[in-house]
Symmetry: C2
Subunit: 379 residues, 2 copies
């Protein structure tokens, strides 16, 4: 089998130059020889997550994006405004590979029995640089997919499933009894609905449109609040008072929503207080911002009480702190419920070259809820 593996493969690259240009292109890179505990994966499915877009388009102004190059080797260029450029100082003039996770077939394996055992198997990987035709990784970074699972089934085994599971783990660690989630109709949001159903955790889902509310109700969500409702705050406070949820995860980041969550949690907690305290309910509230679909500043008004917390949230530090046992338990659950709880839906499956088609890029870069692209580098 290893005799069929070419010596080079295409890899998507993102470069930001010192003079403020973003350049996206396909590079032909060597396929790294596997060490004893490594495997070479022919990548067949790798999703475009919001976290990938951060690295891919950096702080570029994509309204200035232009296409050049050829059909097989397209090139996209765009301007990076000076404020973004300063924030990107550490990556300037370095051609960066992209793609956190993906799935494919092991086409070459190192000499160790554990590596050899994976030869010919379909695996999922969290390894970075997955927008590549071939990717060499240590066996610790891959998991064998269950029998019958396709690479499409296994493409998104890490970022969304582990993030959704980590919300519930975090809530339990903090002694919480319910959760709130924004942008709740996303792939991740749907996973969270299913996890919370199974685990009997009250979950308040916040969406922006009626269709999204309908979608979530159709998969069994009990509490769905539409932020476009004229009674949004009242409905949110009622749902929070009813569920007792004081821990929220927000994917929007910018604008008033995170602050509204904190206000509504505090209002839910004070609703039944009998005695006035100028220090509010005293109930600890926590909103984690785990995404920035809105890049404008986060707004926190007074009225949030005095025991509020607003924090950034990333999966990786959570997993580091959680310990090996918790990590293994979480991963096993993803494998066990791969095509049910953790099924992802994709808008389109595109090749590496198609990922650099200007129109397609604008479509996936819009990060619209319910829109998710899958790259198939083998296509």
């Amino acid at each position: 089998m290893s005799s069929n593996v070419p010596t080079t493969g295409l890899q998507l690259r993102s470069l930001v130059t010192k003079d403020g240009k973003l350049e996206l292109s396909l590079a032909e890179v060597p396929v790294a020889e596997p060490g004893p505990d490594d495997v070479v994966i022919q990548v067949e499915a790798t999703p475009i997550n919001p976290s990938d877009l951060g690295l891919l388009v950096g702080g570029a102004d994509m309204s200035t994006a232009k296409a050049s190059g050829t059909k097989d080797r397209p090139v996209i260029t765009a301007d990076v405004p000076p404020p973004s450029l300063r924030a990107l100082a550490a990556r300037l003039d370095q051609s960066m590979p992209v793609g956190n996770e993906g799935a494919g077939v092991v086409v070459k394996a190192g000499s160790s029995p554990a590596a050899q055992a994976l030869l010919g198997k379909r695996v999922t990987a969290l390894g970075g640089e997955m927008y590549s035709q071939y990717r060499t990784l240590n066996i610790q970074q891959v998991m064998e997919l269950p029998a019958g699972a396709t690479s499409r089934d296994g493409a998104s085994c890490y970022v969304n499933p582990l993030t959704a599971l980590s919300f519930v783990e975090t809530m339990r660690a903090k002694g919480g009894t319910g959760l709130v989630h924004t942008a709740a109709a996303s792939n991740l949001g749907q996973m969270l609905v299913k996890i919370c159903q199974k685990d009997n955790v009250p979950l308040v889902n916040i969406v922006r449109k009626k269709e999204q509310a309908d979608l979530l109700r159709s998969i069994g969500a009990k509490y769905v609040v539409d932020s476009s409702s004229p009674n949004f705050m009242e409905e949110l406070i009622t749902a929070l008072a009813e569920t007792g949820a004081t821990i929220g995860f927000d994917a929007i980041g910018g604008g008033p929503l995170a602050g509204q969550l904190l206000i509504a949690m505090e209002a839910g907690a004070t609703r039944n207080m009998k005695e006035y305290s100028r220090y509010g309910s005293g109930k600890e509230t926590q909103v984690y911002i785990y995404g920035r679909l809105d890049m404008s500043p986060t707004i926190v008004p007074p009225g949030v009480g005095f025991a509020w917390n607003l924090s950034g949230y990333l999966l990786t530090p959570f997993l580091q702190k959680a310990g090996a046992e918790t990590r293994a338990r979480m991963r096993q659950r993803v494998m066990d419920e791969l095509t049910t709880t953790f099924a992802s839906a994709y808008t389109a499956e595109i090749s590496l070259a198609e990922a650099l088609d200007l129109e397609t890029l604008h479509a996936y870069n819009a990060k619209a809820t319910g829109t998710k692209y899958l790259i198939n580098p083998a296509k």
Copy 2:
């Protein structure tokens, strides 16, 4: 001695009515008989802290304030706008006593030996309702002042000293090695400068005016950054990178400052990073908002990294969690350093009636840094 204690005394009251009126007045209230473990204090000095003003003027629009009543029994009325009124629902139509802390002489004592031992002594108390001529409190709520200390010396033994000490305790508990403080020229800020000097904790002081910077430098502050400087952010980042401070306490609350602190902490932490990470420095940063001198919303832009935390902060929950031993140690230090580290400066000493003089009220309600009023109900 107890024979001289009158049966009633004046007490400052704050009332917000259902129809949206604030009324401040002096009520004649009975002096409560002391139980076995209680003492009756003739209050001689009680400060007007920002935390008292919250209860005193509530959410009233003080530009509508009017004076009435007599010279001895002045009355202030003002309108409370509907949004504030909703937040005050739990206190409507209840006449509230005010004043967190103060000092005075024990003029009557309960039967227990511990209470009797305090008779005739000068004590400081954290008891609420201190804007009163007489206040009956359990001996657990009072501390005897050191020999020679006046009530003025001992009026502010709790709120500011314990809050300033709690900042350093909190920093240590979180494994921090330096602090940032805003509105740093305040009485509390000056205490913090002295504490940090003694304890060898690097402290970055943020002030808004050159005179405030000069004042802090004159008492030995090493890092003072003036937010009115055109190079504010650069100077702040430099000070934070140099001190390694990633924990801040902010008394302003509203506006951009808390977000600027988080950005500067992250920039300080990334300044020496060798490799680009789109997830920032990974260094955990924390800003606590412990006051709201600015009632506008808090603004947190992107650029704060992903391990940032912004939280409300109150002394009381800190003390509850800290445990009896830590509390006792902190209180002992306040007594030991009462006229040095924890000396307070007052703009004026006023009577209860003068506290309800319209011009005086506007002056102390402005909460200008370096302006602090002391009420002497015995005056």
